[in-house]
């Protein structure tokens, strides 16, 4: 076969250019979705320009907007990273929601129990507690899949429901805020975390806290884990070909379970970070749908930890901006939900175009070179080939 790689410098230029376009394609899809939204807005008698202006301002156009976006991106990124690790081992973790909830519960319980500890100690312990709990919640489907071939989509969906009920139970009895009992209101929420366990806010008067930096660091860590460690190599090998991995002496079942545990740890950590950085206690709706949005982030990020960073920020911005828009033009929240759904559908469809372009680029690289241009029969005389 005649391989004709483009000359390096020309190649690199073309490649970088192409990468830019590829990056823009999804944005184009977002725009397309928003245009559909604009029509609906018009039908509702709202001014799309005003609406989308607000959307952008709400997401990126103001300090409060940016900080809010980043605050939202934090759990999204953490969950996204978790989903990525599992996905690389061919385990689809739909259980982020539940893992996040138990993470939040464990972190809270732990920091309340150890409230005497100094901050430098309490902070990491609290976070760790959340991560461990999440990991434990991931271990169950992980083991079920590894040992009993129980499909993880089923088990994680079920584990989500179980986690929520567990929260309901703890928040109305064992972990119920004493203040609520005193007031007789019994609203299901935990007591507030000791201040020592609060994550510092990076911008005062906003929800943007240092957890975001932690998430960024972890993104790099996960990338290193996947491509620079033997464990990461094993995870990817198991994901791509269990039979080859087995032949290579890799304990497939163990790796599968491990990937799920790591995934759960990150989702649990997301829960802990939400509690420590934002709510300072477990409240209803703590999971906030991050378990699902995180999957979207992971896949938008091309299942790459670093790619997940922009994905989390953009998707977070989208959600935040959409809320701002809802407030500004006062449309039903449902419109926003539908719009987000449309955006997801359009963006995920646009990746197809990206692939197509990549393919086309390569076959252009395969255009006949001068040597073979005459093509046709090759003279049967010996033409040494090596």
């Amino acid at each position: 076969m005649t391989r004709t790689p483009a000359s390096p410098n020309r190649g690199t230029i073309r490649r970088t250019g192409a990468v830019v376009v590829d990056a823009l394609l999804p944005l184009g899809a977002v725009v397309a979705a928003l245009l559909v939204g604009a029509l609906v807005l018009l039908l509702l008698g709202k001014n799309p320009a005003l609406a989308y202006g607000a959307m952008f301002r709400g997401a990126f156009g103001s300090l409060s907007g940016i900080t809010q976006t980043l605050a939202k991106a934090t759990p999204l990124l953490l969950v996204g990273l978790g989903v990525i690790i599992a996905f690389r081992a061919q385990v689809i973790n739909i259980g982020g929601e539940g893992q996040l909830v138990v993470g939040a519960l464990a972190a809270t319980a732990c920091s309340l129990a150890l409230r005497e500890l100094p901050g430098w100690l309490l902070l990491p312990i609290t976070a760790l507690a959340g991560a461990l709990a999440g990991g434990l919640w991931g271990l169950v489907p992980g083991l079920l899949k590894a040992r009993l071939d129980v499909n993880e989509i089923l088990s994680t969906v079920m584990m989500n429901a179980i986690a929520v009920q567990l929260m309901n139970y703890l928040l109305r009895g064992p972990m119920l805020d004493p203040a609520q009992v005193a007031a007789g209101t019994n609203i299901p929420q935990s007591a507030a975390l000791p201040e020592a366990a609060w994550i510092v806010r990076l911008v005062p008067r906003t929800l943007f806290h240092a957890g975001f930096i932690l998430a960024l660091v972890l993104a790099v860590v996960v990338a290193l884990l996947l491509w620079r460690t033997t464990l990461g190599y094993r995870i990817r090998a198991v994901g791509l070909s269990p039979s080859a991995a087995r032949y290579a002496g890799i304990p497939v079942a163990t790796i599968t379970a491990t990937s799920m545990v790591l995934s759960g740890c990150l989702c649990g950590l997301a829960g802990a970070v939400e509690v420590m950085g934002v709510h300072h206690r477990v409240v209803e709706g703590i999971s906030g749908g991050y378990g699902f949005s995180g999957i979207v982030v992971a896949l938008f990020g091309g299942l790459h930890p670093i790619g997940a960073i922009p994905a989390a920020v953009l998707f977070g911005g989208l959600l935040v901006g959409a809320d701002q828009m809802q407030r500004t033009v006062q449309v039903p929240a449902a419109l926003i939900t539908a719009l987000n759904g449309l955006v997801v559908l359009m963006v995920v469809s646009s990746t197809y175009a990206t692939q197509r372009r990549a393919a086309r680029r390569q076959s252009e690289a395969a255009r006949p070179t001068a040597r073979e241009a005459e093509g046709g029969p090759l003279d049967p005389q010996l033409t040494p080939d090596l």
Binding site: R228, Y247, G249, P251, A366, G376, P380, T383, D385
Partner: protein, 518 residues
């Protein structure tokens, strides 16, 4: 099922290709290739791995559209837009990697895509009856009700052929049909192909085995680097000539001195009374015993699915044994694949694309597949990426792997080169014992010769090789001793000198040693 009349007079008199060009990302698979096949001939298509044979055939079958060029059927220009279209025109194809649905029965696989005589309702009983009739007329044994996943490779191929005949194929493409067949199965196949030729069908036959080509085919078209070297009558052609046309240089087949007897020491690998439970599509091992000495190649001959894969897997630690023991260099060989590898056992698995390599990994990543936790590749829990790439580049050059680079996904390499990567990996760690299962299946002659040389080098270095192959020529060419396995039992072990293909073939087919002796 309503299928085009199969026994009626063939409707295809000739198929011609003109200046066909087909590009793939980074590759020109076919570059202005012209080619013609006529009714009543078997036309061979030769070429190294990646020469463009399968691509050309996939174009004929409507799986790919040519970027350029023209197709004439019976002199009329046609575009073959899809397999459906090809089938309708009387073209059938037996793919190199079988196109069967494992979870379905034979009858269901045949019925797939055809109209039912009962409209929406399946008429599998009708199909089954027809299949049996068809099979009988070609002397094939096929159970229409068997689930395909349970069939041996040979049986699966018969199903493929039946599928094509059932659809009344007048032009039949066979892409490396013998790569997976035993001599007996191959002979059956040739008989059937000759019969089809008599019936006036046109046949295109792809193989890397030149002996077969010369024995079966009327004309041969040779491809090289996606381009056409030419079309020649096989009459009066020699294997050497064909090889040169394909490769563009002399191929050094292993010479006698390569197999000069090496001082054979005490047994290195000892297998005693090894038994195991039956595996998927394979029998249980029963009391398997043999010894393997340093500087020796033991050839294990057998019809596919008679326990070769099970035996290799058990020795390699991929499958539990129910009884018996294995020792390597005196020490019992136990534990998982990793431990046994560390003990000095290397293993080239039969299923190259499934077990031997990870198709979506790069060449480099595949080179470290089994050693990634050990130096030089690993430092503690970390991969030493710098060392990895230096060592891998080294291996790629040392084992003459044809690849754009270490980072290329291995799936875009030819079968032969994929196999070279695996050989490189398994030999680089300088094992004491090597199990090589079907090391050259579907690999072109150039690569085959190279792989054979590697095995002989290992032998010369005093290594021990268990060569599992369904290609008797290969075994006869390389082995010092030959063992025959049938239905999970070792039927006989004999020195190369006493081995004649006749006898081995019969043993493989299940004849007992006694019945042979008198």
């Amino acid at each position: 099922m309503v299928a085009a009349a199969q026994q009626a007079a063939p409707t295809i008199s000739s198929l011609e290709l003109f200046n066909i060009t087909k590009r793939f990302p980074g590759v020109v698979a076919n570059n202005r290739v012209s080619f013609e096949v006529r009714a009543g001939e078997v036309h061979a298509l030769l070429g190294e791995n990646g020469a463009g044979k399968s691509t050309l055939m996939k174009i004929i079958y409507g799986l790919y559209q040519p970027d350029d060029g023209q197709i004439l059927l019976n002199g009329q220009p046609v575009t073959i837009s899809s397999p459906q279209d090809a089938i309708a025109r009387g073209i059938g194809m037996i793919h190199q990697h079988f196109m069967l649905v494992p979870s379905l029965t034979v009858a269901e696989n045949v019925a797939l895509g055809l109209k039912s005589s009962r409209g929406m309702r399946l008429d599998l009983d009708v199909v089954a009856a027809k299949v049996e009739r068809l099979a009988a007329s070609y002397g094939l044994r096929v159970d229409p009700r068997a689930e395909v996943s349970r069939l041996s490779v040979g049986e699966q191929q018969r199903v493929e052929i039946i599928k094509a005949l059932y659809r009344g194929a007048d032009l039949l493409v066979l892409d490396e049909p013998t790569a997976v067949l035993t001599p007996q199965e191959a002979d059956d196949l040739f008989r059937m192909l000759r019969q089809m030729r008599e019936e006036g069908r046109a046949l295109i036959f792809i193989s890397h085995k030149l002996r077969e080509v010369l024995a079966l085919c009327d004309r041969v078209t040779v491809l090289r680097d996606g381009r056409q070297v030419g079309t020649f009558p096989t009459a009066g052609m020699s294997r050497g000539e064909l090889a040169r046309l394909m490769v563009g240089r002399e191929i050094a087949a292993p010479h006698a001195e390569d197999r000069a007897p090496v001082p054979v020491g005490p047994p290195l690998l000892q297998v005693r009374g090894l038994s195991s439970s039956a595996g998927a599509g394979g029998p249980a091992l029963r009391e398997v015993s043999f010894e393997l000495s340093p500087g020796e190649i033991l050839g294990l001959a057998g019809v596919s699915g008679n326990g070769q894969r099970e035996l290799a897997d058990v020795i390699a630690g991929l499958r539990p044994s129910s009884a018996g023991e294995i020792s390597l260099g005196g020490a019992p060989l136990v534990g998982g694949p990793g431990e046994r590898m560390a003990a000095g056992l290397s293993y080239i698995p039969e299923e190259r694309m499934r077990d031997g390599a990870i198709m979506d990994f790069s060449v480099e990543e595949n080179l470290i597949l089994r050693d990634h936790t050990r130096p030089p590749y690993a430092r503690g829990p970390f991969l030493d990426t710098a060392r990895v790439s230096t060592v891998c580049r080294e291996l790629i050059t040392r084992f003459a792997v044809k690849t754009p680079g270490p980072q290329t996904p291995i799936k875009s390499l030819s079968g032969g080169n994929i196999q070279k990567v695996i050989m490189a990996r398994e030999l680089a760690r300088e094992p004491r014992v090597l199990i090589a299962a079907q090391p050259t299946r579907g690999v072109d002659i150039g690569a085959t010769a190279y792989i054979h040389r590697l095995l002989l080098d290992m032998r010369a270095r005093g290594g021990a090789v268990l060569l599992i192959s369904e290609d008797l020529d290969e075994i006869l060419a390389l082995a010092d001793r030959i063992a025959v396995i049938h239905d999970g039992e070792i039927a006989a072990i004999m020195p190369r000198a006493e081995a004649d293909p006749e006898r081995i073939g019969l043993l493989m087919a299940g004849a007992s040693t006694e019945s042979l002796s008198h």
